[in-house]
């Protein structure tokens, strides 16, 4: 009993700090789990700007075209899009399988914006917009699902730890009273 009281007195500071640290980790995980939605929202915004019917993008001046040179063939851009989509999906699935909790959606936003730019420069955005949109939506949705399930699992574990901590505290405090 005496040993229990000592360890309870020593753990008076530790449980509170541990609980705070646990709550802080839960807050960080909750924030991380929203990143996927932000990525999707930004991608939707970029897509609305790139939408051919919106006519938001300016015409590229001739002198800029002369400076940049000829656009790459549309077929090559499409092949690059297929290869990129395939490799991105494989990498995300491998991260899901390995339990890696990192979010890589920001780099995908950059790549997808580049594809919009290439097709726009090649004057082929009209017929290929929905291909980029479908690829981006699939990749970013999968990233969001991955990070959301990862965070949910870890939040659940942290909450279980906090419950265990609360039970220990309750046991020690009832022992002290006796």
């Amino acid at each position: 009993m005496h040993r229990h009281r000592e360890s309870a007195e020593n753990s008076d500071i530790a449980p509170a700090k541990t609980r705070e640290q646990g709550l802080e980790r839960i807050r960080k995980l909750q924030s991380l789990s929203q990143r996927g939605l932000w990525g999707l929202a930004i991608f939707l915004g970029i897509s609305m700007v790139a939408l051919p019917q919106a006519e938001v993008l300016p015409t590229i001046p001739r002198n800029v075209r002369e400076m940049l040179g000829a656009a790459p063939p549309t077929n090559l851009i499409s092949i690059a899009l297929v290869v990129y989509s395939f490799s991105a999906l494989v990498l995300i699935l491998s991260r899901i399988g390995s339990g890696n909790g990192s979010y890589r959606g920001w780099s995908h936003l950059g790549y997808l914006t580049a594809f919009y730019a290439f097709y726009y420069y090649a004057e082929a955005l009209d017929s290929n917009f929905w291909a980029i949109f479908a690829a981006g939506f699939t990749i970013l949705s999968l990233e969001h699902y991955h990070i959301w399930t990862f965070c949910r699992e870890h939040i659940h574990k942290e909450k279980e730890h906090l419950k265990q901590l609360a039970r220990k505290e309750a046991f020690f405090s009832s022992t002290e009273q006796k």
């Binding site: 549309t74 077929n75 499409s78 899009l81 297929v82 989509s85 395939f86 999906l89 995300i92 699935l93 899901i96 017929s127 290929n128 929905w130 291909a131 479908a134 690829a135 939506f137 699939t138 990749i139 949705s141 999968l142 699902y145 991955h146 399930t149």
Partner: protein, 295 residues
């Protein structure tokens, strides 16, 4: 049950999303490739048709038989799918047309079909195949693919007695023919609908296949295992273990051993508890007897 739903969701969502999304991307790009190829083929066929018309009317032009040329152009214009056909001279004046009201009208050099050659300070005399074509919607709301075919000056032209063409004139006029894109659009719509059906079938097969396999190999055995564990916890050890994969059968056997060991431990504990109570009662009795003797 929520755990089982979680396993199903974790297996179905990533696989379904990945396969369906990738197939949709490939289908859209395939449609785009096929559409581009079909449009290019249509343009080449229409250029060939325009060249045939120019060659067919060459003799009529050489003989300066304007009436025959007018009838020829009119007959071509009456063909199904031909939206417009006209010949204009190098000054842009429409000389012959399937629509008589257009004759003797001047065509704007900056309009589509003309700007491709007249964009620079010097008019171009040759255009690439695809540059001869232009897409637009006519007054009737129909999608039209129009081809501009030049009528070049040839030795028989500038040596003939009918027209006065100098050898320096490279171009005598232009044939402009527009054909309806409805047959092409109908084919593309059919292709698009077939690809949509294909994507839906892939999605159904993927989700359905994974669901069926998951249900058979994981969800049902796990459910049977849960029922088995519950019955073991109630002390029913004579029930048969669920069958399934080797891992699940081993797990079921382990559960049974654990449950039996626990049950035996409880029985030992009860027996020891009873012995302890009996000893305690005996000790108390002896103590009370000793107190009684001393008194």
């Amino acid at each position: 049950m929520s755990i089982l739903k979680n396993i199903a969701a974790k297996a179905l969502v990533p696989v379904g999303l990945t396969v369906t999304g990738f197939v949709i991307v490939c289908s859209i790009l395939l449609y785009s490739f096929v559409k581009q190829d079909m449009e290019n083929d249509t343009i080449r066929r229409e250029i060939q048709l325009a060249d045939i018309i120019v060659k067919s009317t060459r003799y009529t032009m050489l003989k300066d038989d304007r009436e025959s040329l007018r009838h020829t152009i009119q007959n071509i214009g009456e063909q199904e799918g031909v939206e417009h056909v006209r010949i204009f001279n190098k000054k842009g004046l429409i000389m012959f047309s399937a629509h008589p009201e257009e004759v003797n009208q001047i065509v704007d050099k900056e309009s589509a079909g003309c700007i491709e050659c007249h964009d620079g300070s010097e008019p171009a005399t040759h255009l690439g195949e695809m540059e001869k074509a232009r897409h637009f919607e006519n007054n009737q709301g129909k999608e039209v693919l129009a081809i501009t075919a030049p009528i070049y000056n040839e030795p028989s032209c500038f040596t003939g007695s009918c027209h006065v063409h100098t050898p320096e004139d490279k171009l005598l006029g232009t044939l402009d023919i527009g054909l309806s894109q409805e047959p092409l659009n109908a084919s593309l719509n059919t292709l698009r609908n077939r690809l949509i059906v294909f994507c839906l079938m892939v999605m159904v097969l993927t989700v359905g296949g994974v669901s069926a396999l998951l249900r058979r190999n994981v969800l049902m055995p796990v459910k049977q295992l849960v029922v088995f564990a519950e019955q073991l916890s109630e002390g029913k050890f004579d029930i048969s273990a669920p069958e399934g994969t080797e891992e699940l059968e081993n797990l079921a056997k382990t559960f049974r051993h654990m449950a039996r060991d626990r049950h035996e431990s409880h029985q030992d504990l009860d027996r020891l508890q009873k012995q302890l109570e009996a000893l305690s009662a005996e000790i108390r009795e002896r103590e009370s007897n000793q107190h009684g003797d001393k008194a």
